[in-house]
């Protein structure tokens, strides 16, 4: 087990390095000059511009700039925001926590909805199956930001007393916090639950036709034992994988959902930074998000190996 973990983690390193190159190059590819963006104005004397360039190290060769930048990132220094002139990391972390909570809530909701509907669909078949798959098809076609906008519209029209835009920090009032994140989490979870539901359904159907389930049924095991010990356990593997892999789309989706519901998370931070051309922040968010997605994929692989003894990485 320890070896599996180590091998997977080691695989991450070259990819992370590549990710850092992409994030670095993206920032150098900007229209206009990095030094100008840093100063926040285009009306600079050539001398002043030159001073800024030198202080940012822009006069050195690109590879040297990259190594210097990477070295600082590895020490946790993501640079200063062009707007607030404070370290990016300190501003990012509290927002990351909000986004993480939203993503986690949405992930759990999606798993709950997806696994339940998929299981029902596969076990009951017939009309239930038909209804679940029809709903899934519909939900798949409605993008999360459209769902969120429609939820806001409906709430505004019919339930004006619910404060949709009242985000409450968790430490102020945990219950109000969960309540304020519920609608955003639902709009984020719907489309993801479809993928989980369809995969659960396919997995349960596949497992139920296996010989060992027939044997279990033939030797008279209780229905519930078969369901829990045989079907659910074996169908769990693909479900875990899919849920983990959907994290990337949840994280991406939270950017949109946060701006709609005005939740002060990483997505809204990114959105503001784009309007302000605050490039160190954009860069930091891109790096952090990619690292989280990579880590999650590794965790999925490990969970996969834990649940399914047949998987090995030798």
């Amino acid at each position: 087990m320890a070896r599996v973990v180590l091998v997977r983690l080691a695989w991450m390193l070259p990819i992370l390095l590549g990710v850092s190159v992409v994030a670095f190059v993206l920032m150098r590819a900007l229209p206009g000059d990095f030094a100008q963006a840093s100063a926040g104005t285009t009306e600079l004397t050539p001398d002043a511009l030159e001073t800024i360039r030198r202080s940012l190290g822009l006069d050195r060769p690109v590879w040297e700039q990259y190594l210097h930048w990477l070295g600082r990132i590895l020490r946790g220094d993501f640079g200063d925001s062009f707007v607030t002139h404070k370290p990016v990391l300190g501003e990012l972390l509290p927002r990351l926590a909000v986004t993480a909570q939203l993503t986690l809530m949405a992930g759990l909701l999606a798993m709950l909805m997806g696994a339940t509907s998929g299981l029902l669909s596969a076990r009951l078949r017939g009309r239930t199956d038909w209804v679940v798959r029809g709903l899934n098809g519909l939900m798949l076609a409605v993008p999360n930001f459209v769902v969120a906008t429609l939820i806001v519209l409906l709430a505004g029209l019919y339930f004006p007393e619910i404060g949709i835009f009242n985000y409450t920090p968790f430490l102020t009032d945990p219950l109000a916090n969960l309540g304020s994140l519920l609608l955003p989490a639902i709009s984020l979870a719907l489309a993801v639950s479809v993928t989980i539901s369809e995969n659960t359904r396919a997995a349960v159907l596949e497992v139920s036709s296996q010989d060992f389930v027939m044997v279990a049924r033939a030797k008279g095991l209780h229905r519930r034992t078969i369901l829990l010990q045989y079907l659910v356990r074996n169908a769990l593997t693909p479900v875990i994988t899919v849920t983990g892999l959907q994290l990337a789309s949840l994280l991406g989706g939270s950017i949109l959902i946060e701006t709609i519901f005005t939740i002060p998370g990483m997505g809204q931070y990114l959105f503001d930074s784009i309007s302000n051309r605050d490039y160190p922040v954009i860069q930091a968010i891109v790096l952090v998000a990619a690292t989280i997605v990579l880590l999650m994929n590794v965790l999925v692989d490990i969970a996969y190996a834990r649940v399914d003894a047949r998987v090995s990485y030798d």
């Binding site: 076609a141 029209l157 596949e206 950017i255």
Partner: protein, 278 residues
Amino acid sequence: MTDAAEPRRPRARGRVLLALGLVMLVGMLVVTLFGPLIAPHGAATTSPDSLAGPSAAHWLGTDSIGRDVLSRLIIGGRTTLLITFVAVSIAVAAGLVLGLLSGYVGGLVDELIMRTLDIIFAFPVFLLAIAVVAALGPTVPNLILTIAIVYTPTLARVVRGPVLSVKRWDHVEAARSVGVGEFAIATRHVLPMVISPILVQTSLTLANTIFTVTALSFLGIGPPPPDPNWGGMLSEARQFMELAPLTVIGPAAAIVFATMTFIVLANGLREVLDVGSR
């Protein structure tokens, strides 16, 4: 994760889905291609009554500065669909070249291509799209380029997988033994055998691209004004949506219709061509 347990669904259902998808697609294309001829008003033409409800002159009402919602939807579809189709065409072409090269040549080339694509894969698609558009600036060519970049890895993988097994089939060996060149084998004897999964994935990518394009526009980093587009219209309409719900429901319905079209097409293709459920 195949539907092995399930009896193969009758192809008839696939044909119905495929036909339905094609009808939806053709309808959408006709309306958007002939948009300026069909639209009752100009996209920027304003009328004195803003945020009006549906009427004979304005079927879907007007927006906050009195422009006809229906006309803007029809004309806005042009920008949205243009970006979608061009970007996906580029991604499919790049995916074909990279996937074929990777799967057919194998070895070091395969490693190099797949590991590079892994890097792009590590980013959440939407986040990468935002970052690239933010870095390059939100113009139509940049949006096309960005979307092509973020969807190329998926398509390359879909091409590579089947190529890996098809290249070992007997007919490939036979072609080689009678002296057919490697390039001709790859394009004429391997590629045609993997076309079905590519078609299905292309259709799914079109659905995903509608999402990405409209979402970027929704965030305000889509095609620049004054040309309308669906995501931008939805975003603008939010401010006054309680006064004129149709200004929100119109673009929302257009986005859902376009996404639905490509999902229906993908499912139809999948069943008719008998591609595995994933």
